[in-house]
Structure formats: structure tokens, C-alpha cells
């Protein structure tokens, strides 16, 4: 096991029950991984919100995060069930959620979809980061277009080698756009992104407990980049867009 010398905040974790294969995603498993790898903070959302009912899932998230200060609650919104109410989003912020997540990796809907467009608009005054899983060429381009100038950060999760050029091109005109690291798996992804977009735009995420933590961590740890950039990526950039972890 790698000894974690750097402070870590993980933007991409989940907990609950995973219906598609037999894998332990329980809250206890997530916490055991947090302890094993000495992760300081994790943004987390309930898989119930992804697969069943986002309102019930969000309740579960709040309850779970209330007993462990390392867990930062992320509200999921399922556009297939969302009726577009502004007050619903306001309530999420009031109740203590620190970010909003779309589970595009598990839910199928197009981007040009009224409930989703309404959500993008309703988030304007909330100052909550939006986390979206990147699925396929062009999604990030559309997301950037729809969220530009609305005042909240957007973190693209699950970006692999096929998303790097899209992010680099978008990054200069979309300062609200960030890229998460779990699948940034080309040998020089971090070196290139820092050169082209800057280290402040890269946010660490692992995808645990659905994935192996050290796959994500080692890519940052072994990157040939300054230690200060590793610190930003692993912890401080997330802290910055959340305006602190408290």
C-alpha cells in the first residue's frame, strides 16, 4: 500500500447499494477506504439517488454525512424526475448540501432536455458546484455552453484520454470548468493539462468504492509535476471551489 504523504480531498465517491454487480459500496466500506488511505475529505452521494429515488437518496446522504465530518454531502438531482422547481434547489442548499451531482453515467437523458436546462438555470444563484460525469465526445462542449456565465463551477468527472483535448480547448473560455482525475490515464495527462489549462483546474477524484483508490492516487503522485501542483490537485482546488470544507 502506498503511504499517503499528501493531504487528500476526493471529489468523486459514492455509497449505498450497487445493483449492477456484486461490489461492496456500503457506507462502512467507504469509511474503511477513507481510513486506509488517510483521506481528509470526500464529496459523496448516495447510489439510491442514482438508481432509485433522488429525494430519498439525498436524505440518506445527509444522514450519513452528519455522523462523520470527513463526508461532505452532495445532492443528486435526477432530471427524469425533477419538475424544475427553484425552491427545491434552494432547499438543498439550505439543508447543507455542498454540491449537486448528475449521475449521467447511470441515467440516460439528452443534454437538450428541459428539466436539465431548468436545473442549470436554477443553480445560478445557489453557488453550489455542479458535478457531471462525462459520457462521450461533445457532452462537455454542450455543458460548458449551457453553464457559461451562470456563476457556479462545473466539475467534469470521469474524463479519460478521449476528453483531454475537449477540456483544454474549452478551459480558456470557460473558467468555471474543472476536470476530475479518476480516469485521466494518459502517461502525461497531468503535465499537459497543467501546461495548457493550469493546475488550479484539476480536481482529484477516485470513484471509490466502485474503483481502486490507488489507480487514481498514483497517477497524481507519480506525475512529473511540482509538489505544489500535486497539493492543489489532491486537496486545495476542491477546497477552493467549495469555499472551504466547513
Amino acid at each position: 500500500m502506498v503511504i499517503m504523504a499528501l493531504k487528500i480531498a476526493d471529489a468523486n465517491t459514492v455509497f449505498g447499494f450497487f445493483p449492477r454487480r456484486n461490489v461492496d459500496c456500503s457506507l462502512e466500506r467507504l469509511i474503511s477506504l477513507i481510513e486506509r488511505y488517510r483521506i481528509s475529505k470526500v464529496l459523496t452521494a448516495s447510489l439510491k439517488a442514482a438508481f432509485y429515488d433522488y429525494v430519498e437518496g439525498n436524505e440518506e446522504t445527509l444522514e450519513s454525512c452528519s455522523v462523520d465530518s470527513r463526508l461532505i454531502p452532495v445532492a443528486a438531482v435526477d432530471p427524469r424526475a425533477y419538475l424544475g422547481g427553484l425552491e427545491e434547489i434552494e432547499e438543498l442548499k439550505k439543508r447543507g448540501f455542498k454540491a449537486v451531482r448528475l449521475f449521467t453515467e447511470f441515467q440516460s437523458y439528452p443534454l437538450d432536455y428541459a428539466p436539465l436546462l431548468k436545473l442549470f438555470k436554477n443553480l445560478e444563484s445557489m453557488d453550489l458546484p455542479l458535478l457531471i460525469y462525462n459520457v462521450g465526445y461533445g457532452l462537455m462542449t454542450k455543458i460548458a455552453r449551457e453553464t457559461r456565465g451562470r456563476g457556479y463551477p462545473v466539475v467534469m468527472l470521469g474524463c479519460s484520454y478521449d476528453a483531454i483535448s475537449e477540456f483544454i480547448v474549452l478551459s480558456s473560455e470557460n473558467p468555471h470548468l474543472y476536470i476530475e482525475t479518476s480516469l485521466l490515464d494518459t502517461p502525461d495527462a497531468f503535465e499537459l493539462l497543467i501546461r495548457k489549462a493550469g493546475s488550479t483546474r484539476i480536481i482529484f477524484g477516485s470513484g471509490i468504492p466502485l474503483t481502486y483508490f490507488e489507480s487514481s492516487y498514483l497517477m497524481v503522485k507519480k506525475a512529473e509535476i511540482p509538489e505544489r501542483d500535486k497539493e492543489l490537485i489532491l486537496y486545495y482546488n476542491l477546497e477552493n471551489i467549495l469555499k472551504g470544507f466547513i
Binding site: 459520457v135 484520454y161 483544454i168 502525461d188 481502486y212 489507480s215
Partner: protein
């Protein structure tokens, strides 16, 4: 990392993505950083474009003294030329196997053309690394393993994954490998789903699993991290990362 590594799935050449760590110098740097004692490379140009040019360029870059070995890539759309490539390279000590990528060539693994090439290459006694990324690919490799019992087949990406997260491709690959001692599972892919390595070790056995990075498209850190995180013992990790490939490739 203290465990040495032999990489059974590496590439030499460029990709149509923004990754530039593709020179021999960059490759040696990656090998040093991850304690890789050897790696077996196929040419990206040979896979995605012209296999003859690609194999030639790869051959010029191979250097067993620094652990850089090769696969000769075949393209079953060009049967006679593929046979020529096998004859030209496969007896050389630099080349340790044959690479076939079904997706870029558009030729199914189960095609008569590919079987013809397997039959032709059988006397060379070197393993095939075959890109597998579907259940059909896995079943096709199973058929090959059944028909060519003396040929060793490496399932690149161990069947692969799909967006839904079910793991059904790699689960089938594990199940098939558990039935055939001439099938090896190679572990690299972008989505590294938790539990995959543990299940492979449990059902197929650690002696049939090979470490692969997919460099220079992918970062060795991604798959090394997966092995490090996996809940298997050190001896099993050592087999996967080093000893199985050492034996299979005779390195």
C-alpha cells in the same frame, strides 16, 4: 514500488489523442519510474494504420538489453503479407509474440482469416495478444483456445468493460480463463472496476493473470495502482506483475 514489473501490453508510436510520451526516451523514463524490467510493445501505427510500416519501425526500436521487446502485429485483411511479417520477425529474439486488434482491422477474432494466421504461427510457439472488448471477443478466444490447445492466448483488457458497470465482459473472461490453461488475462483498461482482480485471482488463479499498462496510450500508474489496491497477497501480486510474464515470454 519494490516489486519489479514486466509489462505484457505496451505500445510504441503515436495516438490520435493528446499524449506525447511516445518516444523511446519517454518509454524508458516510464519504465524506470515504475520499476519495469521489461515490456513487450506493439506498434500503434501497425494496429491503427499500416502494419508493415509499423512493425518495421518497432523492430528498429527494440532493444532486449534494456528490456524492450516486441509483438509482431498482423492484419487478417492481408493474409499473405501477414504471413510474411510473421516469417520476417517472429524468429528474432526481439519479438516475443503476435498482436491482433480486431476493432481497428474490422476482422472478428473468430474469422476464418484469423484462424488461418493462428495456424500458420503455431509452430513459432509464441503467444498471441488479442484485444478483447466484448463478450463475443471473449467467446471467440475461447473457441481458439479449444481448437489450438498448444497456442497461448492473452486476452488484452481481459474482455474489457462497458459503460453500464456490470463487469459482464471481464466476468466472462475470468470464467473462460478458468477453463483453459492456455488463456491468460491481461488487466489494463480505463475503467478499473473494484473487485475485478480479486475475482480473477479467486476463479482463474494468479498464475494466469498478466500485468499490462497499455502505455503509451495509458499511464502505468493506473494499473499499478489497481494491483497495489487489490486485496490479494504479495505473492499473487508478484506473479501478476512479474513472474507470469517472465515465464510466458521467456524473458
Amino acid at each position: 514500488m519494490s516489486i519489479p514489473i514486466i509489462d505484457a501490453h505496451a505500445h510504441y508510436g503515436k495516438w490520435f489523442f493528446p499524449t506525447y510520451a511516445n518516444s523511446i526516451r519517454s518509454i524508458k523514463n516510464l519504465m524506470r519510474r515504475f520499476n519495469m524490467k521489461a515490456a513487450v510493445f506493439s506498434s500503434s501505427k501497425a494496429i491503427v494504420y499500416n502494419f508493415i510500416e509499423g512493425n518495421r519501425e518497432l523492430f528498429q526500436s527494440l532493444d532486449p538489453s534494456t528490456g524492450i521487446y516486441g509483438y509482431v502485429t498482423v492484419n487478417p485483411n492481408y493474409l499473405e503479407l501477414s504471413k510474411d511479417e510473421i516469417k520476417r520477425y517472429l524468429e528474432l529474439p526481439e519479438f516475443r509474440g503476435i498482436k491482433f486488434h480486431t476493432a481497428y482491422s474490422g476482422v472478428p477474432i473468430g474469422s476464418e482469416e484469423f484462424k488461418y494466421l493462428v495456424e500458420f504461427a503455431e509452430p513459432y510457439n509464441k503467444p498471441f495478444l488479442i484485444h478483447t472488448y466484448s463478450q463475443k471477443d471473449v467467446k471467440d478466444v475461447e473457441d481458439l483456445a479449444k481448437r489450438f490447445g498448444n497456442v497461448k492466448f492473452i486476452m488484452g483488457h481481459m474482455g474489457g468493460t462497458e459503460a453500464s458497470g456490470t463487469g459482464k465482459n471481464w466476468k466472462l473472461a475470468i470464467s473462460v480463463a478458468s477453463e483453459y490453461s492456455n488463456i491468460y488475462l491481461e488487466i489494463c483498461m480505463t475503467r478499473l472496476e473494484a473487485g475485478k482482480i480479486e475475482e480473477a485471482v479467486d476463479k482463474a488463479g494468479s498464475q494466469q493473470i498478466l500485468y499490462g499498462s497499455d502505455m503509451t496510450l495509458l499511464n502505468p500508474a493506473h494499473t499499478v495502482g489497481m494491483i497495489m489496491s487489490s486485496e490479494i497477497n504479495r505473492e499473487e501480486k508478484e506473479r501478476i506483475l512479474y513472474f507470469n510474464a517472465k515465464k510466458l515470454f521467456g524473458i
